[in-house]
Amino acid sequence: MSQSSWRERAAQACLFALLILSSAVLRAQDDELKPVPVLTGSTAYFTRVNAGQVQDAPSVSPLLLLPVGDHLLIEAKGSLSDTFTKSALGDYNGVVGYGMTYAQADYITKYVTITGGRFITPFGIYGERIAPNWIRSLQGTPLIVPVTSGASLGGMLRGGIPAGTEKVEFNYAAYYSANNTNHIVATDRSTGGRIGFFLPGPRLEIGASFQQVLQLDRPHSAGMHFVWQPNAVPLAVRSEYVRQSGIKGSGYWIESTYRLSQIPHLSKVELAGRGQQFFAAPNLSAATIKKLGALGIDAREGDGGLNYYFRSDVRASASYGRLLATGRNANLWTIGMTYRFVMPVWPTGGGF
């Protein structure tokens, strides 16, 4: 078979697959109450001053949701940012960053969702639930986040089910990931999962995670998470702990947010605070410490900030943090805005 013939056949196969997919999507839209494809995500503009270093960073993170039939959801999220750093001469130099956060297909049944593709590693709660900049209460990423592999490429089983009573819900995720060295979508060969128990009454969730890396020095990580939202006050407390057996150490963060909804003129203001500690692995060599960067030294950090909700989807944020680390003490200032957009990319037939 000649090369041109092979290409023609590949193009025809792609076209055919696209037609089949379009047909399935169109069939899913027949009923006026069927879900439609949606483009959502967020844009943000933040100015950061990190130890005197000024940065301006506009960014956009689009997420395409494509429901197919009654059980399937295809979702893909990307990110694009341009970080302008102020030089000693006063001019700004921009560095473009881009990536594919996830691109996955989910087959949803009553008790289990089967996921395939590139997905966020189900470890703890920060990566999967809190990381989007329109969600996170404080824009700085916790020190322990890089301890585990944040993205995976492979398959996952997950779901949430009542734990034999309406007072307790059980959620779980188990995954396997292959190694991928492409710089945009790099992943480790690893396996692991997470379990959690959610008590809807007191609005309390506790859970644990595990990850076993299956390459290089094969470290494993274990973690715990906790979320509590008391019914009586608009307070949320979240926390995570992680410990790795390899060279990446251990640490925790605890964060609380309080919405001033009981004060008429301040009801759109949310106060946030976070404390965290990171403990570097003992007996690291100088070369390893240099290679690990921030994960090579002990650190403590305290942050406080406020968010003002102009609307539920438009928010202004400001925060101050103090990092205490050997040779790296720093003041961390952040101010900026986020906008979360939701737009159907198919006629919705009206509604609200």
Binding site: R158, R311, G351
Partner: protein, 100 residues
């Protein structure tokens, strides 16, 4: 899918109707009046339960979003079913609350 979800939620709620206060009150009156009042009571009960589950699940991570058109909401709730690992029943009740 929405119709199926609403239908399933209604079916699941049928068994509880006899015990609702509204159902007990109207049991003394005419049977003709009972059906609509019963249905109203069940709708209100589901709406309240959906609102409760919406607040307990969604606000664990983010501020309450506005209500979008039903077909858009169907997609978002399906996404959140996966992301936040909602139970099947939570998803149905939240979807019903967010599209009423």
């Amino acid at each position: 899918m929405m119709l199926a979800l609403v239908s399933a939620a209604q079916t699941a709620g049928d068994s509880k109707k006899e015990n609702t206060p509204a159902a007990q009150t109207i049991s003394d009156g005419s049977k003709e009046a009972a059906a609509p009042v019963n249905q109203l009571s069940q709708d209100e009960s589901d709406r309240l339960e959906g609102e409760k589950r919406f607040h307990s699940n969604c606000s664990r991570c983010h501020a309450a979003p506005p209500k979008f058109p039903p077909r858009t909401m169907g997609t978002i709730v399906r996404h959140m079913r996966v992301r936040a690992m909602l139970t099947d029943q939570d998803m149905k009740l939240i979807l019903r609350y967010m599209t009423k």
